[in-house]
């Protein structure tokens, strides 16, 4: 009896690794590898929107996506692709830059030895934990033309004569999206950078102060070298997340007015799910996947470590 439980124990122990890793690997393979393979496969088909008939077209979806009827860059790139890529770059570029600078500033302030720091940190991170849809709709309400709070503040304080229809103007709508995005994701930057700031040895600051180093030189020579890995993590994750995130754009502008705020994510969703063109949507998905891995690869090359997880 006891020998048989013993041998069972020993068998279970020998199987510790496969039993603890196996289920997860199977699960991940099923839930990630298979759909990813499917993505590539379905990008090779074209579905007739009227009859629903599927037809193998090889790489035609990619050609249509990237070249199209041409006329864009040097006459060889699909102008629609150029247009929406540009929107994506503007959206991601401004959002990430602004939220990074703001987040860095707040993180440096929060790193000071202040009473009530815990509460301030709590107050600062909340926007990031709310559902993005709720935040997107909330900002749509803030920017609403008649009853929105921003127009309310501007008009009732006499700063503007007539109310501004923020979301009906292409440039202003993009600006509104960027503001909402910065509002949502700055907390993430703050958290990552605050963690990084804790790696800076206190004595180095004291030494720098004794040497009479200026505030900028203290940041440049003491803080920055220690903070660099966290900065890379924060920027990479932010960029990658912003390229693929749909929530805010979809509920705030749906890519409009016109196509002024159409970014890759909303374009992909519209193509695949609204217009019912799964093959073309999948082709765009493959491009998005390739771009994501390219960005990670470049950062990996430049900085020599994998800065990625979330």
């Amino acid at each position: 009896m006891s020998t048989s439980t013993d041998s069972l124990r020993r068998t279970l122990d020998r199987l510790f690794v496969p039993l603890t890793v196996g289920p997860t690997l199977l699960w991940i393979a099923g839930i990630i590898v298979y759909p990813t393979a499917q993505l590539f496969w379905s990008s090779l088909f074209w579905t007739n929107p009227i009859t629903g008939a599927r037809e193998f077209v090889g790489l035609r979806n990619f050609k249509d996506l990237l070249v199209g009827d041409a006329g864009g860059w040097l006459g060889v790139v699909n102008p629609t692709f150029v247009n929406f890529t540009w929107n994506t770059i503007v959206y991601v570029g401004f959002s990430v830059t602004i939220s990074f600078l703001l987040g860095l500033g707040v993180a440096l302030l929060l790193n000071k030895d202040l009473a009530g720091r815990g509460w301030l940190r709590t107050a600062v991170i909340v926007p990031w934990i709310l559902p993005y849809v709720m935040s997107g709709l909330m900002w749509r309400w803030m920017f609403q033309a008649q009853y929105g709070a921003i127009n309310g503040v501007l008009a009732q304080s006499g700063l503007i004569e007539s109310k501004i229809a923020f979301l009906s103007d292409g440039t202003l709508a993009m600006m509104a999206l960027i503001i909402a995005d910065v509002w949502v994701f700055t907390p993430f930057i703050i958290i990552i950078l605050l963690a990084g700031l804790q790696n800076v040895p206190e004595q180095l600051y004291d030494a720098a102060e004794v040497d009479g180093a200026s505030r900028w030189s203290r940041f440049r020579n003491v803080t920055y070298p220690f903070l660099k890995p966290s900065i890379l993590v924060a920027l990479t994750i932010r960029i990658i997340f912003d390229i693929r995130a749909l929530d805010l754009v979809w509920v705030m502008t749906q890519g409009g007015p016109g196509k002024a705020t159409e970014v890759w994510a909303s374009w992909l969703y519209r193509t695949a799910m609204v217009f019912g063109r799964p093959g073309e949507g999948a082709a765009l998905g493959v491009v998005l996947l390739a771009v994501t891995f390219a960005i990670v690869a470049v950062l990996y090359k430049v900085f020599g470590e994998t800065p990625y997880a979330t």
Partner: protein
């Protein structure tokens, strides 16, 4: 520092250019820091305040000018309405089920797998860990087409289950795709920080690997597990895009979808939307207020590779 200057004078001095006086410059710096942080917190919370007051005003008040930034009338009717006129109890239930089950799966598998990756060298362990982390880099939006077709017509188990489209199961399966690799990663990093002498001690005491893991390691890992669970719950609770693609009725739709349904083309029912939005936002606000520490530690474990 002369003795006749008062406390007040010294603070005032601190705002001036006099920097060889060290004590007031510290005071000045703190005042500036509080001031800037105060402005930031105000700006960050103002939209939340605005949607909160929208949710507790009568719908007619919400659409009246000039805007009252301090509500003149307070009512719970928007909240009552959304449960009376729309199946908000079902949406809330769906959100709870989907987020809890996803969390349970991710925490269970993430903890055991993370532990093994932290402690054991086995064939291909580095490559496997890298592919798990790499899996998390796949942009979810890129996979809406395959997920839609797979859930509509599941391979292998399709004959057993039929279509999974518009079921909570589809959402749970999908959300583990976001969260399981993340959970493995957080827990692996967490266990890396737990001293190996604990494992050895357990073995000296005659525990099998499993007993050692359950009796000695798990209790120590509670903060890591809490961090993983909270983040997995929040991510699943907040998810919108896949819920939009994979559900179509209140048998599976979650709160984010329910909130977005208040937008009907050009007309938006702001008062009720605000009430629904507050309900959807509630776990986030509560978790943020009470478990901030775990969220921060989970995120940093998840993001920073040591």
């Amino acid at each position: 520092m002369s003795t006749e200057t008062s406390y007040f004078d010294r603070i005032v001095d601190g705002f001036g250019l006099d920097t060889d006086n060290e004590w007031p410059s510290v005071v000045r710096e703190r005042l500036v820091a509080y001031g800037l942080l105060g402005v930031y917190v105000f700006v960050v919370w103002f939209p939340i305040y605005y949607i909160l007051i929208t949710s507790i005003q009568p719908a007619s008040e919400v659409l009246s000018l000039p805007i009252n930034f301090i509500p003149q009338q307070i009512t719970a009717s928007n909240y009552v309405d959304i449960f009376a006129n729309r199946p908000f109890e079902l949406y809330t239930f769906n959100s709870l089920v989907v987020a809890s089950v996803t969390t349970l799966i991710c925490v269970t598998l993430g903890t055991v797998t993370g532990y093994t990756f932290s402690r054991h060298d086995f064939l291909g362990n580095k490559a496997l860990l890298l592919s798990i982390v790499g899996a998390r880099m796949i942009p979810p939006i890129a996979l809406i087409v395959p997920f839609f077709s797979i859930m509509s017509n599941p391979p292998l188990i399709g004959w057993l289950t039929g279509s999974l489209y518009d079921t909570k199961i589809a959402l749970i399966l999908t959300y583990t795709f976001f969260n399981l690799p993340f959970a493995v990663w957080i827990m692996k990093n967490y266990f890396d920080g737990v001293p190996e002498s604990l494992d050895e001690q357990a073995q000296v005491d005659g525990c099998s690997q499993w007993e050692g893991f359950v009796k000695v390691i798990l209790p120590v890992a509670k903060p890591g597990i809490a961090a993983t669970a909270i983040l997995a719950f929040i991510f699943s609770w907040n998810e919108f895009v896949f819920a939009l693609v994979l559900t179509s009725s209140e048998q599976a739709q979650t709160l984010p979808i329910a909130v977005s349904l208040f937008v009907a083309d050009d007309f938006v029912d702001w008062a009720h939307l605000a009430a629904g939005g507050m309900i959807a936002a509630l776990p986030g606000i509560l978790f943020g207020l009470f478990f901030q520490r775990y969220i921060v530690s989970g995120l940093t474990q998840g993001a920073v590779k040591e």
